[in-house]
Amino acid sequence: MIEHSPKPPEALMRAIARDLRPVKPSPQPLRLALRMAPVALLVSSVILLAIGPRHDSALLGPVLTWGASAAQFALAIALVWIAAHEGMPAGRLPVRIVYFAAIAASLVVVFVALLTFSISPASEPLLRVPPWINEKLRTSPWIMGFGCGVGSTIAGGLLVLLFSRIFRNSLAARPTVAGALYGAGAGLAINAGWRVACPVSTPWHSLGAHGAAIVATVILGALIGRFLGNRRLHMGDALSWPR
C-alpha cells in the first residue's frame, strides 16, 4: 500500500512530466454542440444539394418539408449536447432526460414519417435523373431503399467519426451511452436533410431504410464510444502503479 502523503507518487509524476504541453480548455457542452452544428448541417445538406428537394414539397408545405427537418436537426443537436454532458464528470444530466431525449427522437422520426405519408403517399421514386433510372427504380423499389439506407448510413458514419474525434477525451462513465447519443444525433441530423430530398414517403421506406440508417449510426457511435472508453481504461495499466 502506498503511503498516504499528499505528494504524487513517482510513477504518476513520471507519467505526467512526460507530457505537459499546454492544452486549450474545451468549451462548455452547449457551445461544443453548437460548434458541430454547421458541419452537421453541411453533411446533411449534401444529398439535398445533389438531387434537390422532393417533387411533392409544395403539397407537403413548408412546415412539413422544412419545419419537420429543422425540428429533427434541433433534436440532433440536443442529443449531441446531452452526449457532451455525459462526458463531463460533474455535469451529467439526470438519466431520465437521457431516456426522454432518446424516446422523443424515435417518436419524432416515426411521427414525421407517418404524417408525411398521410399527406403525400408518394411511392414513385421520381428523381431528377435520366428517365431510365427512374423506370428502373420504379420496377425495383428495393434499390431506392438500399440506396437511401446505405447512403445515409455512410453520411451519418462520417458525422459519427467527426463527433467521436471531438469526444475522444470525453470522461464519460458510460462511454457506450455517450457514443450512442452522439451516434443518434448524427443519424438524426442526416435524416433531417435526407428526408427533404428523398421522393419516397412510404412507411417501409422511411422507417425501413432511413430509420435503419439512424439505428446503424447509433450502433456505430456506441461501438466507437465503447472502444474509446476501453482504451482510456487501459491507458494506466502500462504504468503499473506501485503499492
Binding site: 498516504h4 504524487p8 512530466a17 474545451s26 477525451n169 503499492r243
Partner: protein, 215 residues
Amino acid sequence: MSEGDQELRGLMVRYQGGSLEAFQEIYARLAPSVRRYLSHLANNSEIADDLLQETFFQMHRSRAAYNRAYAVRPWVFGLARNVFLMNRRAARQWAKLHESREELPELAVLPEADRLGSRDEIRRCIADLPPVQAEALLLRHEWGFSFEEIAGMVGITAAAARARASRGMADLRVALNNLQSAQAARSGSHGANKPADLSPARESVVRKLLKRARA
C-alpha cells in the same frame, strides 16, 4: 464561489498551461479526500490507492476537458466516480469471463483488510445503508457538496440527490439509535462496564454524526 474553489480553478488553468507545480498543488489539496471517497466506493483501501492514481492520470490525459466554468472539486470527484465505475464494470466482465477461477476477487465486496480492526459503529451503519443513499449522504455531509453538484456527479436530479441524502440520514439515525440502545443494554447487563471500545476521537465522530442525524 469560495476562495478555495477560486484558487483551485486558477491552479487548473495553470496546470492546463503546462505547470507541474500546479498539478502537485492540486494533488496535495484533493488527493486525501478523493482517496477517502474512492475507499468508500471500492470498500477497499488498496484498490482506492490504485484508483486514486488512475483518477489523477485520467485527469491529466483529459485535462483539456476541464473548463474554468466548473468547480474543480466536484469535477475531480465526478471523475473519480467514473474511474471507479469503469474499473468495476471491467472487473465484472473479466470475472464473468473467468468464472471458473475462484481466486478472482469481486472488487465491490472485498473487505478493507487494513481497517478491520478500527471499523467503528458509524462506518458499519453507513455501510449497511443502501449504496446510493450512503454515497449521497457522504458527498453531502462528509465532503460538503451541494445537491446540484451531487446531481451532476451521479446523473440524477438535485431533488433526487436531496431525497437520497435525507433518506440515508433518516436510516442512519434509526441504525445509530438501535446501536446505542443495544450498547446501553449491554453496559447495563455488565454492571458498571463503560463502553470502552470508543476512543475519544471515535466518540467525537459518533457524537458529531448523531448530532447531525438528530438535527
